[in-house]
């Protein structure tokens, strides 16, 4: 079909996917949390509580959207958008399967990181614009946490770009074809610390999206709801959706960079439409395995202390990722067995 129609069709699909994920990841989280905590989770609304997110969405939408007195109206209203929109836009370059990508951009990886940084700005504006001391404290914490954790994430990404020679996400996935030990996480010949690089990337993506145990920005038992304290109804709902969309992006990137994207573990790849479905299936399995791990981690560990969080980044993750960068460079140059 002609290119513009294809792009529009895929963008619609991508936005639907993002929206559906944001809604149903909440369901996954609540069910997962329930079973980890020895209870069931939502079960009343629909079979297995599957209609719960819809009920929550309707509830949030029927709440009155008002501007509390003392907020800065522009900042207050812009903040949720700044968190939600970049996350959804980043979905355009994620390759769900070989031909199943909205737009294959040469600098796809760079684009995703560019948009991820806007997320922090949104939280900062939301906290500041709320005019609430709790929110300001939370926003300040958020900014310093995000800056600290973007660095190891970017250094690790630079390492991967160095290895793959391309920033095109689909190319990166293609270069991992074959058996599962061709996936970059297992490629110890490229860098001995490749699994460590995956861990660093995964932990940083947890911290970037303010998920527990790094959820200082919304530490419930300390700052009520942190940067989101003053947001009523759907304003909070949009923040929430943005957070889950970011989680999906973070996990999707981890899967693409390290776990082979839509590649299957065996070198069998049917042609045509079946091949598309085959790739899609493997991508989604890996993606949701990682998302389940994210949910699992949230309900298992307590929260870290703020300076310990920053210590972890500056004193542990950054040195290790820099070391990995140098090690990879050495390994590529001196042992060119690729």
């Amino acid at each position: 079909m002609p290119e513009p129609f294809r792009v529009i069709l895929f963008i619609i699909f991508v936005m639907a996917f993002a929206g559906l994920n944001a809604a149903y990841l909440v369901w996954c989280e609540r069910k997962g949390a329930g079973h980890i905590q020895r209870r069931i989770g939502p079960k009343e609304v629909g079979p297995f509580g599957l209609l719960q997110p819809i009920a929550d969405g309707i509830k949030l939408m029927t709440k009155q959207l008002f501007l509390p007195k003392g907020v800065d109206p522009i900042l207050f209203m812009a903040a949720p958008l700044m968190v939600m929109v970049p996350a959804i836009m980043s979905f355009c370059v994620i390759p769900f399967s070989e031909t199943f990508v909205a737009r294959e951009i040469n600098i796809g990886l760079l684009m995703i990181f560019a948009f991820a940084s806007v997320n922090v700005l949104g939280l900062l504006l939301g906290g500041w614009g709320s005019g609430n001391k709790y929110a300001v404290i939370a926003a300040a914490r958020c900014v310093s946490q995000n800056i600290a954790y973007e660095i190891p994430m970017l250094v690790t990404t630079i390492t991967m770009v160095m290895v793959t020679n391309t920033m095109n996400l689909n190319e990166i996935v293609r270069s991992q074809s074959g058996w599962f030990f061709h996936w970059y996480i297992f490629r110890l010949d490229i860098s001995l610390l490749m699994p460590v690089a995956f861990l660093i990337f995964f932990v940083c993506s947890l911290a970037e999206t303010n998920r527990a145990p790094f959820d200082m920005a919304e530490a419930e038992s300390e700052l009520v709801a942190g940067a989101y304290t003053e947001y009523p109804g759907m304003g909070f709902g949009v923040f929430f959706m943005g957070e889950y969309a970011n989680i999906v992006i973070g996990c999707a990137l981890s899967v693409i960079l390290f776990l082979g994207g839509w590649q299957s573990p065996i070198p069998f790849h049917p042609a045509g439409f079946l091949g598309v479905i085959w790739g899609l299936f493997w991508f989604l399995i890996k993606l949701y395995a990682l998302i389940f791990t994210v949910i699992w981690i949230r309900w298992t560990f307590p929260r870290t202390q703020f300076y310990q969080l920053l210590n972890l980044s500056w004193k542990v993750l950054i040195p290790i990722s820099l070391f990995n960068l140098i090690l990879t460079a050495l390994q590529i140059k001196i042992f060119p067995w690729l």
């Binding site: 560990f301 929260r303 300076y307």
Partner: protein, 373 residues
């Protein structure tokens, strides 16, 4: 601590209100914090939100009519409060308690202590961000609540003791149920230990956080796990043995470090020690009546004042009775352990970060209705 408003609130500091409605203050407690960025310059707890004036009720009611009030103060370890009040009146009026009743009192009080510590454990880790252990602890606690309900009729605010004994005897199902429960909890404690106590994030949140020195504990009158976590070997059950505690063999866990981790470990160890006491009490449980042979219908203690102290879950709970020879108290003073424990928060939290101060507050094990009475 002086009033915050008396300090100069200069440009660099701001007042943060940890309001009466806050997920971390267990109950309605308000803490006014003078903050310098993230650091606390001064903290002032503001009390009185759940003040019901139990002491005046003690004067307006007869001795027996006050019994239900006891469970409403520290609702988590209500039986200890029952015990303190009932024993104080028994001391004042010279009422003897049969041995079986004393053993039943000890068994139920220790079970109550375990359930209080389990709830503290869940709520404390919840404050730190770990949402899950709360529900596991509540599972164990539910069993205790069922056991105690079969004996006392209540799940939380017990009113089981009477002057001269207890009002209800236990059945065999209670004894077997308790032994089953202890066996089950003994199997689960290593899980809590491995999953929560040895968790590196928790250790980093609690170790060396919120130090309370021995002298500070002494000057503020802190007792219970707060004092025992600072190296003070003081437990009313050992120090001033009452009821039949001198017949049991149990240890008093004391940790010297004085930080939040020490107080945490004291309470976790106390759960095990309470289980030991309950086991020994069940083994040694004598036959006999559970109520004094002829308890006086109307109690008229001699004039004078009397004091009785018991070890509640949170520290030494003291009851001071001033009697004028009539059917009700002339003055009833309830010395609540958490009141003294919380008073050191202002001095102890100076210069700390806010999350550390909240960890300290959680480790003090606050129950606000007990403070406010």
């Amino acid at each position: 601590m002086n009033g915050l408003m008396q300090q100069d609130v200069n440009q660099e500091t701001f007042v943060l209100n940890l309001g009466p409605q806050h997920p971390a203050t267990h109950g309605v407690l308000r803490v006014k914090l003078l903050m310098d960025g993230e650091y606390i310059v001064d903290a002032e707890p503001v009390l009185g939100y759940i003040h019901r004036m139990h002491e005046k009720m003690g004067e307006n009611r007869t001795w027996a009519q006050f019994l239900p009030n006891c469970g409403r103060m520290d609702y988590l370890s209500a039986l200890s409060y029952n015990h303190g009040y009932v024993a104080a009146v028994e001391r004042a009026a010279g009422i003897e308690v049969p041995e079986r009743a004393e053993y039943l009192r000890v068994i139920t009080v220790e079970l109550n202590r375990i359930s209080s510590h389990l709830l503290w454990f869940g709520a404390f880790v919840l404050d730190l961000g770990g949402f899950t252990p709360l529900l596991y602890a509540f599972d164990d606690r539910e069993q205790i609540l069922d056991l105690l309900e079969s004996v006392t009729g209540s799940r939380l605010t017990y009113c089981y003791f009477r002057f001269g004994g207890v009002y209800n005897d236990i059945e065999d199902s209670f004894i077997t149920g308790t032994r089953e429960f202890i066996k089950r909890l003994r199997k689960r404690m290593p899980m809590y230990d491995a999953l929560v106590t040895k968790n590196i994030i928790l250790i980093k949140r609690l170790k060396d956080i919120g130090p309370i020195s021995k002298d500070m504990a002494r000057r503020y009158g802190a007792t219970g796990p707060v004092a025992r976590g600072s190296g003070i070997n003081f437990d009313v059950r050992r120090h001033e043995p009452y009821s039949v505690y001198s017949e049991f063999d149990f240890d008093i866990p004391v940790y010297d470090e004085g930080d939040s981790m020490a107080r945490y470990m004291v309470r976790m160890d106390e759960i095990e020690q309470s289980m030991r006491i309950v086991e020994q009490a069940l083994d040694k449980l004598p036959e006999g009546p559970v109520m004094a042979a002829k308890p006086p219908k109307i109690i008229k203690p001699e004039k004078g004042d009397y004091y009785y102290a018991v070890e509640a879950a949170r520290g030494s709970f003291g009851v001071r009775i001033v009697s004028d020879g009539t059917n009700s108290a002339y003055r009833l003073k309830l010395r609540s352990p958490t009141y003294s424990n919380l008073s050191l928060f202002g001095e102890a939290s100076r210069g700390m970060l806010l999350p550390d101060a909240l960890a300290l507050m959680g480790s003090l094990d606050l129950v606000i209705p007990e403070i406010d009475r």
